[in-house]
């Protein structure tokens, strides 16, 4: 369960680490498009676009709906929310721990003064 979640996060991080794939997601976030329409908007081959789309599909960020010869692509933000939550969690964690570290140093300073 945890391993599956880690593998999923790996997929999301590597998927969005590429500027072309981020641009594809930006496009899809504005509405669904076909692979052909997508290729027309990017200065890369249909084959190149297909490869990027497959990476995004594996990361769960893009869903493909096949209707005859048309492949319609839609964007799914849910895996991203998980990734952001992970980062936010650590900010909260470290801020709170540093508060505690400072508090402990302050308490020690006070007790040193008292025993002097």
């Amino acid at each position: 369960m945890v391993e599956r979640s880690a593998a999923r996060l790996d997929g999301v991080f590597s998927a969005v680490a590429d500027p072309t794939r981020r641009a594809i997601l930006d496009t899809l976030a504005r509405g669904e498009v076909t692979v052909g329409e997508l290729a027309a908007r990017f200065p890369i081959s249909l084959n190149g676009v297909s490869k990027h789309v497959r990476v995004l599909e594996r990361a769960g960020l893009v869903a493909r709906d096949v209707q005859g010869r048309e492949h319609r692509l839609t964007f799914d933000a849910r895996p991203l929310e998980e990734a952001v939550e992970w980062m936010a969690r650590y900010r909260v964690f470290w801020e709170a721990r540093l508060d505690a570290l400072e508090g402990l140093l302050r308490a020690r300073r006070r007790s040193r003064r008292r025993t002097r």
């Binding site: 945890v2 391993e3 979640s5 880690a6 996060l9 790996d10 999301v12 991080f13 969005v16 680490a17 981020r22 997601l25 930006d26 976030a29 504005r30 509405g31 964007f75 799914d76 933000a77 991203l80 929310e81 990734a83 952001v84 992970w86 980062m87 969690r89 650590y90 900010r91 964690f93 470290w94 801020e95 709170a96 721990r97 540093l98 505690a100 570290l101 400072e102 508090g103 402990l104 140093l105 302050r106 020690r108 300073r109």
Partner: protein, 141 residues
């Protein structure tokens, strides 16, 4: 400009660099502040390059954290790998740098790297809103 997936936190602390450094490398001290939610924490630290540490936070259940020291340069810099349930058992890197600000003040800069790319955080709000709008359009038709 920090690398994608990097979390940076800065703090000005009223203590010497030596005292702040010891808070990270002395197990007895670390056990007193590495206590999220007031948990009891036990720590075994071997703060030398290549040495390992294990920190267990005892909450409703035990939360294990472990890793290896990469840089141990008192009282200026400490860097270690951080592997835990919270990091989804992925290897991340925590670096603590201490700068002398005079008058018994230390600036602490904590960097937690190899977290999700920063672009994710920047883009998500926009994307999520767009998806919500699409969903609303879908619902109203």
């Amino acid at each position: 400009m920090s690398a994608p997936g990097t979390l940076v936190i800065r703090r000005l602390i009223r203590a010497s660099r030596e005292d702040v450094f010891a808070m990270w490398t002395d197990a007895g001290s670390l056990q007193q502040w590495m206590t999220p939610g007031g948990s009891r924490t036990t720590a075994e630290l071997d703060p030398r390059v290549g040495g390992r540490y294990k920190i267990v936070m005892h909450g409703d259940r035990d939360f294990d954290h472990h890793g290896e020291y990469l840089i141990v340069d008192p009282p200026a810099k400490l860097s270690f790998t951080w592997i835990s349930e919270g990091s989804e058992y992925q290897r991340s890197i925590v670096t603590v740098e201490l700068f002398d600000k005079g008058a018994n003040q230390t600036e602490l800069v904590l960097t937690h790297e190899q977290l999700p790319p920063a672009q994710v955080a920047r883009h998500t709000q926009g994307w999520t809103e767009a998806v919500d709008k699409l969903a609303a359009l879908g619902a109203s038709t």
